[in-house]
Amino acid sequence: MASTPAVFSRGLTGRQQRAGIAFALPAALLFATILAYPIFESFRTSLFSIDLLTGNAEFAGLSNFSEIFSDETLWSTIGHTLIWTVLSLAGQLGLGLAAALLIDADWPGMRWIRQLLLIPYVVPVIASALVWQWMLDGHYGVISTSLQSWGALDPGANPLGQESTSLATVVLVNIWRGFPFAMLVFWARMQSIDPAQYEAARVDGAGPWREFVHVTLPNLRSAALSLLALRGIWTLMYFELVWLLTRGGPAGSSEVLSTYIYKVVMGEFRVGYAAAIASFAGLFLGLVGLVGWILYRFRVRRAA
């Protein structure tokens, strides 16, 4: 009897464990079939050369992975992806912080202003992408025609349609869409700062600027770090906005990793190679996540 695992025992522990499994089982099974199995399949697929049109699958070993290193388009795409991620995050967090400071006042109606500021994040991305495309339209769009009449843009030009400006424009739209989220996180954190800290700073003769630097900013550190980590991962692999605005174009000037993978699958039907890139990116993300986590644990332990 002693060797029977608790799950099968007739006692209370056994009953509770069985109840736990019963509650968790449906979700766990679904997880396994639609998440774990596909992820495993993805790694397996990356070892094959598969043509989605003909359905031919040939074992290709690591040749998909070695192609990664000779694919020059891929490397310029990775460059764009890094620019896109860094600028988007910097803009979202910067503007989000500014907005959080501005709404952090008990003026009448501030609740409504906060709701309004959240709108870009709430609106479906398809609607956002379409309205920005319309506003940036080279012939009739309100932003492009204004820029053209001020001479900032060539007649008939669309910032999304020029190689020199497409990536920056997509980043700008992403900042517009993402800053409310950073604002809300920063603002929520500001609400929980102990007012005594500000009073102490004021007693020390600190002005608004020094209050901000010495009280507000240090309190926002952990919020900023978690924003960077979570939004970092999602922005690196964010597909919808870039795809809907530019399809990665013109001439690949706004191509990021996610749109490139999509094209390799849907345009070239090279599933094996796409899976190799995806696996590569997934491993890279996992590695970055692991290093970040270890550093975090290390610091926590040192601080304790």
Partner: protein, 281 residues
Amino acid sequence: MRPEQRRSKASKAGIAGRVVALALIVFFAVGPILWMVMSSVRPADQLFQSDPSVVPTAVTGAWYEEVFGSGALRWFANSFVVAIVTTLVSLTLGTAAGYAVTRFTFPGRRVLLACLGVSYLFPAILLLVPLYLVLASLGLAGSLAGIIIAHLTITLPLTTWLMKSFVEAVPRELEEAAWVDGQGYLGAFLRVTLPLLRTGLATTAMFAFILSWDEFLLASVIAQGDNVTAPVGMAGLVTSFDIRWGAIMALSTLVTIPVVVLFFVLQRYYEKGLTAGSVKG
């Protein structure tokens, strides 16, 4: 006295500056959406002039009539079906799983939690190929059921995660009393815990619905023919030669309305859920 005066003068200028900055930021945030709604009711001759006036001088419902007379209604019906089924399934399974990992210790609990964390962070684009292959081998590619399954990969980790945090807030003692009363685990859960989770369920359901309603990437690969969701159908309109911006803006307004209505009705919960980290992208 004097430092007081100086401070009030400085703060007056400061307040004026803040008001201006706030106005600018609100304009930046809301301007595009206002422009979308305004463009959807502008007559064509005002939409397509090379020097557009800011305020429309005439209003038309023609774009909406055009949209309602087209196949776009079918897209919206599809989106509703997909989003509602996705929400119901992921809410049911997610609540049960969230309950299990909070209340019980059982073999595999830690593995489940770890998988939850990973899949929550896992970008959908990396799932695209394998998920498509799995659905195709099941014969579900091209059907609404396929889209629903794909959306579950996004919503299930989220609902489980959110419901876990809501269950944690319910006092355990209440259930233990019910267990002692001989109600059984399921009975205690249904009669005692579930009613206390109402707010949590509403919040989680809203996020699951919005995620599915907005989703484009997976649906664009799986959807075929008539079985497209609204975002997929709309994205296809811009590539055509004659871009009907008025109709597109009408559709954009329509796709936005359910989400914004949910947001304003449940805004308190929305903020709470958002800061709990619930939306990808």
